[in-house]
């Protein structure tokens, strides 16, 4: 009976397994599906270009981020300053490269925190029955109904100074922002992981492993978790975009990184008072945030298509 019903009939049946390069691993299959989502494929290229230019930019563009030049104050884009300058005559390209590093670093680090916390909490809730599960899910629902931005602001307001004294202004705020943004975004991941665990732990292959004497730990790490990973990866991708927006929002409200560190949100915050005379300032910075976020969102959408085995493509 089991042998007769395929999960996704067309995909498995239609593919001839003749030549060597037609070999067929789950990841290769996912990659094939991913490429068919045209916007997602373009987004990967765009995001890679963006990340490369942010990482390698300082090698080619030697202007310092705090080079003050009052003669070139608020000048529009030119050959000397491709993205123009701000109100102190500082080069915007250099500042955006610097800010991009922070934005992407915050995005990925906060995503890692959220995935880590979410996976652990979801896994514990999913594998244990009864009161532990109920309590953890109550906490998850509680966190889901917290007003996130006000709490983010509150936590940063309360703990900014203590961390600044321990790790220095930049590092302290970085750790704080990453922990707090990650700490308010693990709930969807936890719910996803729990839902996956609930269905996977009753499957035959888990039963078989348990019958062979596998410990609970081995069941979770070797058998259940790898199979639960698909939706988690998708959620993680979208978390990167959300974390980048969250960090920019904090900086835009003037409460993120210290004022002398030009994150993208901070640049926009400074630019908003010069919208009438220097619109290029806000447009380039906002455009950078927008392109990064939409690229990540499209990649997430492509991954959703690619990693969902029920979807026939």
């Amino acid at each position: 009976m089991v042998g007769l019903t395929h999960a996704s009939p067309t995909v498995e049946a239609a593919r001839p397994v003749g030549r060597r390069d037609r070999r067929f691993s789950p990841w290769r299959e996912a990659w094939r599906r991913f490429r068919r989502h045209r916007l997602a494929a373009i987004s990967v290229v765009v995001l890679a270009l963006l990340a490369l230019s942010i990482l390698l930019g300082p090698l080619f563009w030697h202007v310092a981020i705090n080079d003050i030049d009052f003669t070139a104050r608020l000048s529009p884009p030119s050959w000397d300053h491709p993205f123009g300058t701000d109100d102190l005559g500082q080069d915007l390209l250099a500042r955006m490269i610097y800010g991009g590093r922070i934005s992407l670093a915050v995005g990925f680090a906060a995503m890692a925190v959220a995935m880590f916390a979410g996976t652990i909490i979801g896994a514990i809730a999913g594998i244990s029955r009864g009161s532990i599960d109920a309590t953890l899910m109550w906490v998850t629902d509680l966190f889901l109904s917290l007003p996130q931005l006000p709490l983010l602001l509150l936590v940063i307001y309360l703990f900014r100074d203590i961390l600044k004294n321990i790790v220095g202004p930049e590092g302290g705020v970085f750790i704080l922002i990453v922990l707090v943004i990650g700490g308010f975004r693990w709930m969807p991941v936890a719910r996803l992981v729990r839902a996956q665990f609930l269905s996977l732990r009753e499957k035959e292959f888990v039963e078989a492993a348990r019958a062979l004497g596998a410990s609970n730990w081995r069941l979770v790490v070797r058998h259940i978790l790898p199979n639960a990973l698909g939706p988690v990866i998708v959620a993680g991708t979208i978390d990167v975009a959300a974390a980048i927006i969250a960090e920019s929002t904090l900086s835009f409200l003037g409460l993120g990184f210290p004022p002398d560190i030009p994150t993208w949100g901070r640049l926009l915050f400074d630019a908003k008072d010069y919208l009438d005379i220097a619109p290029h300032w806000a447009l380039f910075t906002g455009g950078a945030i927008f392109i990064t976020v939409i690229a990540i969102n499209f990649i997430g959408d492509g991954l959703r298509d690619a990693l969902d085995p029920r979807k026939v493509m």
Binding site: D141, L142, L144, S145, L146, P147, Q148, L149, P150, L151, L153, L154, V155, Y157, L158, F159, D161, I162, A241, I245, S248, T249, F252, L253, G254, L255, G265, L268, A271, K272, L275, D276, P279, A282, L283, G286, I289, F290, V293, I294, N297, F298, D301
Partner: protein, 319 residues
């Protein structure tokens, strides 16, 4: 229905308690002494400081302090704003209506856009309309509200000069003129907030309608000879709305987050901009109270969603 409401309320109360506990724990864990400033003031003798500490119970165990704080909050004694020199509850009550007006209208706009667009997109999946709507939805929720706000100001206030970019409560006009000015200044903030929400709601509506539209009962309704319009509005959309309501309720925290940003950009005197200015002025009682009010609003809207849920899906009420 009353029974159902009561049950939802008993669910809402513990989460409010949990939120207040988290808030209080944050405040208690944070470094810094609310009377720290007094220590450096030479005009205040140490005995007075000690008396104040005892009076406010700073040295009591944390659970007792939490209990005192909770009782005071329930009595409406929310403290005194250091910066504005008025009671916190009065300050907040002045500003809550503005926030509710902006957020509420933006939600209505979002639903007014998302429901028809999402339904049409799902009625003809993968058509041109669906693809265009999908692309716009992606653009919509990838554009952060602070950037769209600035863009709108740049276009409509700076370049075209059509709309004011500062929201004023004291409009110097009366009669129809007043309403017109009031409407004009609210357009941009509501559009920014509404379209941002509409983008994600459109995707929810589309996938919910897609799930429902292929079910057998819809085919039955069609084969009875009902008009397509009636099938969609009465049979499909009503059932598709059930999951949408849940998702919209889950979005509430981020809606209020977006409200803070828009209030800050357009200088709307709501509780969001109050929060930011309180943080910049180190006004702790106001910060705590506003955060708590935001939490209450989220819980309140979740409760509202539950009520709508019960109305949309009568099976729930009987459970």
């Amino acid at each position: 229905m009353g029974n159902y409401l009561l049950r939802r309320l008993t669910f809402a109360l513990p989460s409010l308690l949990g939120i207040s506990l988290i808030l209080f724990a944050l405040l208690a864990l944070a470094p810094g002494d609310p009377f720290g400033e007094l220590a450096t003031n030479p005009n205040i003798p140490p005995e007075v400081r000690e008396a104040l500490r005892i009076k406010f119970g700073i040295d009591d165990p944390i659970l007792i302090r939490y209990f005192h704080w909770l009782v005071a909050m329930l009595h409406g004694d929310w403290g005194f704003s250091f910066a504005s020199r008025v009671d916190v509850d009065r300050l907040i009550l002045q500003r809550v209506p503005t926030t509710l007006y902006v957020v509420g209208t933006a939600q209505l706009l979002a639903l007014a856009v998302a429901l028809p667009v999402g339904t049409f997109a799902a009625m003809r999946p993968y058509s041109i309309f669906d693809q265009v709507a999908n692309t716009f939805a992606f653009i919509g929720f990838s554009l952060p509200t602070f950037f769209t706000g600035l863009l709108l100001i740049l276009i409509f206030s700076v370049n075209l000069g059509w709309l004011p970019f500062v929201y004023r409560v004291d409009i110097a006009a009366n009669g129809w003129q007043w309403y017109w000015e009031f409407f004009k200044q609210a357009i941009m903030p509501i559009t920014v907030l509404g379209l941002f929400q509409a983008a994600s709601y459109t995707r929810y509506v589309r996938s919910a309608v897609l799930d429902v539209i292929r079910l057998d009962y819809v085919t039955t309704a069609r084969s009875k000879g009902l008009a397509e319009r009636k099938v969609i509005v009465k049979h499909v959309v009503r059932n598709a709305l059930i999951p949408v309501v849940t998702l919209v309720a889950l979005q509430m925290p981020s809606v209020f987050g977006g409200a803070i940003v828009t209030e800050q950009i357009f200088r709307i005197p709501g509780i969001g901009s109050l929060l930011i200015s309180a943080i910049l002025a180190n006004d702790t009682p106001v910060i705590m109270a506003v955060t708590f009010v935001f939490a209450c609003l989220v819980v309140l809207f979740n409760l509202l969603a539950d009520i709508i849920y019960g109305w949309l899906d009568p099976r729930i009420s009987y459970r």
